[in-house]
Structure formats: structure tokens, C-alpha cells
């Protein structure tokens, strides 16, 4: 099997592989978020009885992980590849291993292992059991059976597979410095993103106007609450929840949130997420009404 020789090959290979497994190939969500799990195609679709199989790339923003473009593998903006399979198929692990083979990691010469790592997102009120998947000691994937989202039990349980694309690509391409990754045969990752990492690190740590951000947080929270009263609009409300979460992450990176306040802010985002999830379960796609009979 040929290795995915460029970053975009890796993405295309995964897209093709999961499309072949019957997944919807969705596009990234157009809001800034900390992880693919925040995509409504995961958070909201994980709830309720309807089956759902989807895969997508999601740009993920982690303002405090910014390193001014100097760290070999830490980025404040990176890509996750996310697969969500509901209900969790019996052969979920096998399907996953198939994807690893597809991108050129041959289990006959590598050491692939499932090491306990229960995933939890306090901001989403979500939790699941699973593993981080190791390839030769390197964590390449988070593999989780969702048990709860927005504080609500998942039934059926779904499988969430999250690949850290840069890390995986670095492994496949045998590259030590993320910016050296071949994005395609012409451009390196650094040519695409290095300047962004430098500028956004300055923004995240130094320049972001905290007063504005505090206001963004308040506004998003207020708008989210408003959208959940009267005729409830689960999806627009959830957008506001995502915005509040990102504002919080930026404030956190700016170091203006104390330890005690931190827990309170996380609690506020969680409350929004929970309310959105509840509204979703009463919406047409969230609840289950057999159309016939």
C-alpha cells in the first residue's frame, strides 16, 4: 500500500475511505471551535435515535497552544478529521484499522495499540469511554464510544474517531517539524500556515481585546438563551454556544481568567450546550417519529 505522501493526500485518502464505508462526507463547520466534537454534526447528531454516519475535516482552534510558529508540533490552529458512526458498529475497530492501512501505516511493521483514554469535554457535558490509538508509541487517534452529550445519555451509543491530521501526517511523512510537512507536492505546510501561527499567537496572547471578548461571551450567552425561549431554535442557539466557548478559550489564553472563574465559565458554556441539546431532542431531526405507521 502506498503511503499518503502529502497532507492533502492524507485527507483525500481518509475522505475516500470513509465515503466508501457509507459515511456522509461533510464540510468543516463555519464557526471557530476547539475540536471537531463541537461540530453540530457530532454534538447534536450524537443525540436522539436516528442513525448517523458522517466524516469531515474540522479546523480546530486552541488559542493557548499557540507557540509563535516555533514549536515543532504545537499549533493554535490545526485540523482534525472526525468520523461519527451511530449506532456504533460491531466492527468499529476493524473499520478504523482499515483507514490506518489505507493511509499507508502497515500494522505488520508498526505497533498499533489501543491504550485506555476516556474522553471527556466539560464544556460540552460530554463523556465517553475509549482509547487513544498508539502507533509506535505515538498517539494518532482518539477513539471513543460516546456515553453522554450535553449531560444527556446517548442511546444508541455512537463511535467517534478523531485523527489529529498534522500529527498523523508527520508520522506518515517522517517529518519532525510540522511546517516541513508537504501539503501537496508544491507547497509546504509552513508556507500555508506559518505566518498565521505567528500572527495568531500574538493575537491570542497579547493583542486580543479582552473587554470585547468578555462582551462577546456575554452577548453569545444572552442570544443563545433568547433563542431557546418561545419557539426554540436549537441550531442557531448552538452556534452561539460555540461562539461563547471560543471567546472563553481566547480569554483563557490571554490569562485573564482566574482558576476559580475558569470553572464558572466552563459551567456557563456547559449549561448552554445542555440547553441546546435538549432543544435539539425536541426538534424534527433530533426526535424520532416514524413517518409511516
Amino acid at each position: 500500500m502506498a503511503k499518503a505522501s502529502t497532507f492533502q493526500d492524507l485527507i483525500l485518502t481518509l475522505q475516500n475511505y470513509w465515503a466508501a464505508q457509507g459515511c456522509l462526507i461533510l464540510q468543516p463547520y463555519d464557526d471557530q471551535m476547539g475540536a471537531g466534537t463541537f461540530h453540530p454534526a457530532t454534538t447534536l447528531r450524537a443525540l436522539g435515535p436516528r442513525p448517523w454516519n458522517a466524516a469531515f475535516v474540522q479546523p480546530s482552534r486552541r488559542p493557548s497552544d499557540g507557540r509563535y510558529g516555533e514549536n515543532p508540533n504545537r499549533l493554535q490552529h490545526y485540523y482534525q478529521y472526525q468520523v461519527i458512526l451511530k449506532p456504533a458498529p460491531e466492527n468499529a475497530q476493524e473499520l478504523y484499522l482499515g483507514s490506518i492501512r489505507a493511509i499507508g501505516l502497515d500494522p505488520d511493521v508498526h505497533d498499533i495499540r489501543f491504550v485506555e483514554d476516556d474522553w471527556e469535554s466539560p464544556t460540552l457535558g460530554a463523556a465517553g469511554l475509549g482509547w487513544e490509538v498508539w502507533c509506535d508509541g505515538m498517539e494518532i487517534t482518539q477513539f471513543t464510544y460516546f456515553q453522554q452529550v450535553g449531560g444527556i445519555e446517548c442511546d444508541p451509543v455512537c463511535t467517534e474517531i478523531t485523527y489529529g491530521l498534522e500529527r498523523l501526517a508527520m508520522y506518515v511523512q517522517d517529518v519532525e517539524f510540522v511546517y516541513d510537512l508537504k501539503f501537496n507536492n508544491q507547497f509546504r505546510y509552513g508556507e500555508v500556515f506559518h505566518q498565521a501561527e505567528q500572527e495568531f499567537s500574538v493575537y491570542n496572547f497579547e493583542r486580543a481585546d479582552t473587554e470585547i471578548l468578555f462582551q462577546h461571551f456575554e452577548d453569545a450567552e444572552k442570544q443563545c438563551r433568547e433563542l431557546l425561549t418561545g419557539k426554540r431554535l436549537a441550531l442557531p442557539a448552538y452556534d452561539q454556544c460555540i461562539k461563547a466557548s471560543h471567546a472563553f478559550n481566547l480569554l483563557d489564553a490571554r490569562g485573564v481568567i482566574s482558576v476559580t472563574e475558569r470553572a464558572a465559565y466552563i459551567g456557563r458554556v456547559r449549561a448552554l450546550a445542555q440547553a441546546c441539546c435538549e432543544a435539539w431532542l425536541e426538534s424534527p431531526m433530533g426526535e424520532y417519529k416514524p413517518r409511516f405507521g
Binding site: 511493521v109 505497533d111 489501543f114 485506555e116 508509541g137 505515538m138
Partner: protein, 670 residues
Amino acid sequence: MPDLLLELFSEEIPARMQAGAARDLERLMVGALTDRGYLFEGIKAFAGPRRLTLAIAGLPARQKDVREELKGPKTDAPQAALDGFLRKTGLTRDKLKVEKTLKGDVYMAVIERAGRETVHVLAQIIPEVMAKLPWPKSMRWKPGLSVRWVRPLHSILCTFDGELVPFSFAGISSGLHTRGHRFLSQGKIEAKRFDDYAQKLKAAHVVLEADERAAIIFEGVKQAAFVHGLEMIPDEGLLAEVSGLAEWPVVYIGTIQDEFMDVPAEILQTSMRTHQKYFSLREPKTGRMANRFGLVANMIATDGGKEIVAGNERVLRARLSDAKFFWDEDRKHSLASRVKKLEGIVFHAKLGTQYERVERIEKSAAEIAAKIGADVEMARRAARLCKADLTSGVVGEFPELQGVMGRYYAMHDEENAAVADAIRDHYKPVGPSDAVPTDKVAISVALADKLDALTGFFAAGEKPTGSGDPFALRRAALGVIRIVLENKLRLPLIVDADLLSFFADRLKVALKEKGTRHDLIDAIFSLGHEDDLVRLVARVEALQTFLKTDDGANLLAGYKRASNILKIEEKKDGKIFISEVNESLLSESAEKALLSTLTKARAAIAPLLEKEDFAGAMKQMAALRVPVDAFFDGVKVNVDDRQVRENRLNLLAALRVTLHQVADFSRIEG
């Protein structure tokens, strides 16, 4: 006799849960079988990354027949009682026997239950046992089913005497098949008996037994290290963990790049252990950490492990670059400059920030230093800096390196060596097997740190409970006790009564291992004025030695007798006898002799106690034994003459007071 084989095959079971699951499976099956009258020859449970296995040898093919006689109501009891008995036994009245007893005729039911075929019993109890298996954390995975397992369960193999035991759990029917290693074997494996099963699994690259996997890893790392002229740094916890991460463990050796070798060994070792689960190696002669590590894979790679080793080395480089980055960054700021940052770290909601804590520790360390003859300024300095490394990048990444890193940074800042060592050692002892600090500066800070936590949490009402001790206060108290005793520090423990009794309890636990009686500790503690642990222990030891002698045992008996009499008479009279003995009222020679010995002993004991010559004090008390015995042999206390009676009670009270100089004998058992 037939055997049972049970295998529960699932997705990867967390390493830390495997041993417990095997124990629980065994325990629950033993319980279920004995409840049903079974005896068997042997049982053994196995756990690994993907399977729990249970083998029972010599289990009878049929359950024993059971004959039970149940006594029912009397024949003249009301109908309702009889109806109830019939319901309970499931019999009709004509099946009951009548038996004559002393209380009259009663109904007897004889219930005979034929034993069932064991295979049916097993089919019933195994799903029940599986449902009861207490995983520390478990999950749902099947739509519409609330059944839980640690991770999705895939198959159940179950045979008895080589035949299928048919049952189902979580919608999975038991069968005769399992699977081997995830990558080193293919297809299903049929097994009907344990030996065959174990053999086929081994052929399919699965080592069933955790101990065997651990031995393979241990020997593997040892051998491979030896080839490089190195030895492994033993790590039981890591060994147990990696044994649970591979069905077919294969050891490879990797190399640490030179650029990381000047990073402190503790950082390298911690990073390798916690993130990568690698074994560190060292040079046998110097004990210096080597630039090699042992890794355990779950794979015999077709390329001999080239890719695996290269991959792991690459991951380690990234890990160590991170660690080295922190180490380099951390040294750009002095420890002293970090102290202020502790204002931003909450120690506990009720106890303020780490900065406030440091201020308290600094003050108290200086006081302790003055008392134990340590350099006060150095103790103050060490206390000031002791928590500063909590704001460093390395400790942020590896909290277990707190203190250790503080020492490195202090040395880098060219602090005094004793100050640097004290920063590291003030957390000690961190466990029962850890050594206590012996340098006086370190002792001052270590005691101040622990006493601050103890007094603070006690004042905040956060005392340990029977089951929980979230702030490790027991360990802190034990640490204080060990530091004081092992360094023979003469330092009064000035704490409130509540905390003192907590210390007393910890002391009992600590001394119990040395065979010291807990009641003797109480006997000294309840004197109420002993806050010097070293003296307290010396007293307890002298007392224990004394009580082992004939004189001691007899004197204790005499004391008990005197104190019982006093208790009764004091209750009767409604007063306590404390008056001086009136010599002129003494008539019997035995009471005169007792008084004179008592007076002498009392005078002699006080200065001996002063000098802390407890053995000497005990010797003086030993002299009391003969006159006390003689007194009880020859003198009657409760005589009609009121004055004589009270005088004799006062004499016994004098004995009590004399003995209480040394210990509260009423607390001594036996």
C-alpha cells in the same frame, strides 16, 4: 471430574482494570457455585488486553441432591399460619409430616431437590455473574440494551467437560470460538478444554497469564540492557501496566538523542515513563542514566522492529524536545522571582493561595529552625522558595517532579546547597518506604509544611473521615511523627487537642509495626502534658518493658485493684480521695510499710522523670509491688471506723497519684 472453561472476549480492557476483573470474576464464580452446594478442585482466572478467562478444574457433572427438613407451625396453630407454610414450601398438606416436640405437635416439611445437571446450573449463573462484575468504569454499547461491560464485548467461549454451555449475555450467544492476537493471528480458534485453549492461544501469539507476560518483559529488558552493558531501573508499577498492554510482548531497545542527555535524569525518566511507558536504563557502575530505553511492543514486526524503534525514537524526541524546552525556559527566571506568582495559585478555597501558605510556612520554619538548632535564615530562605517550582513549566507538565525541580532551579540560581536540598526534601517522606529528611534546614521546612497543612485543614473542618483523606493528612501526620522520631528531635507539638489526638492515632499505627502496644501510648497521652514525641516514645518503651516483668504485671494488678476500690467508694461517698494520709491513723504494719515506700518512691520518681530516666522511674515503681501485695493481703479497707476507712482510701489514692506520674495506668489493658 469435568472442567469449566470460560472466556469473555472484548475490545481492549484498560490495563489498570485487568487484575481486579480477574479477581472479581473468580470471587463471584466461587460464591455462585458454593451457594449451590458445589465443591471443586481448583479455579484460576486470567486477564489480558482483550480477554478474561476462567478455568475451573474438578467440578462435578451434577449438583448434589438436597434434602431439607423445615419445621412449620404447630398442628393447632391458626389456618393462616399453615397456609403460609404451605406457600413457602410449595407442598400440600398431605405431604407434611407431624412430629412430636416438647411444645406439642408440629408440622414438618421434607423438601427434596434433585441436583441439576451442572451444565444447566452454569448456563444460569454465568450471565448473572457477568452482570454483577464490578468494573471501575463501564459502558453501554448495544442499542436498546442497558447491559454494561468495560468495552464492547464480542464473544463468549464457554465449555463444560468439553461441551458447550449454552447461554447468552448482551445478546451474545456463548460458543466454542475465540480469536488470537489482533495482528499476529487470523481467523477463529476453536477450543473446548483449557489445555487446548491455552496452547492454541500461545500458537496464536497470546500469552494468557499476566505474570508470564511480566516475566517476558522483565527478562527481555534485562537481557537487552545487558547486551549494551546496562541494567534496567526497576519499576514495578510500569511493569504491571505494560503487561496489560500487550498480548504478545516484544521488547525493543531505543536510543535517546545526545542533545537531551544534559536534561536532568528525573525529567527524562518521568517523561519516558508517564507519556511513553518506556523503561529507563542505567550504567550499573555509576548508576548514571543511560541514553537507551526499553520499549514494549505488542508486535513481532516483519522488518525486525526497525520501523517500531525508529517511530518510538521519533516520538520520544518530540516529547523530550517539549521537556527540554520547559527546562530551558524555566531557568530563564529565578525561583525567587516566581514566588510572587504563587498568589495566582489557589491552595484550597478555605486556606487561601499558595503564596499565603508560603508566608505561613516561612514563619513557622524559622521558629522550628530556632528550636532545633538549624540555620534560621537558611530555613527561611528554603521555605520562601519551596513552592516556587509549582509555577515552572516542567512541574506544570509533570507534577510529580515538584521539589525535585525546585532543587535544580535553586542550584542554577546558586542558592546555598542546603537550601536547594531542603526545597527538594521538604515533601519527604512521601510514603512509608521513603526516607525522612535528616538535614536540619530540610527538617524545619518539612515540618512547617506538614504542620501548616494539618492545622489549616483541621481548622477548616476538612478532617479525614473513615473512608476519605483527600488532602493526605494521615500521611502528613505520619510524616511529622517519623521526622521527629527518626531524628530524635526534642520539639513540643503545639497543636490543639483535636489534632493531638489525631497524632496519637497516627503514632499508634506507626508504632504498631514495631510491636508497641496502643494502650500504652494512650496511657502516656492521657496524662495530657506529653507533647514531646521522643520522650513519649521513650516512656512508652520503658513502660512496655516494665510491664513484661513480674513486678510490673503484679503492680498493674495491684493498681487495678486499688483503683476499682477507689472507684466504688468514691461513687458511694460522692467525693474523690485526695487528702494527705494521716500517719497516726495507720495501725497495720502493711499499711505503714506501703506509705513509707510510697513516700520514698514518689520523691525518687520525680527527679528521675525530670532527667528522663524512665527505666529508673520504673525501677522505683517496681519497689512498690511487694508492699502493695502485702497491703491487699493484710489490710481491710472498708472497716467500720469512718476515719480509718477514709485514711486507707487516701493511701490507695496516693498509690494512684504516684503511678500516674509515669502513666495513666487505668488505660492499660489486661
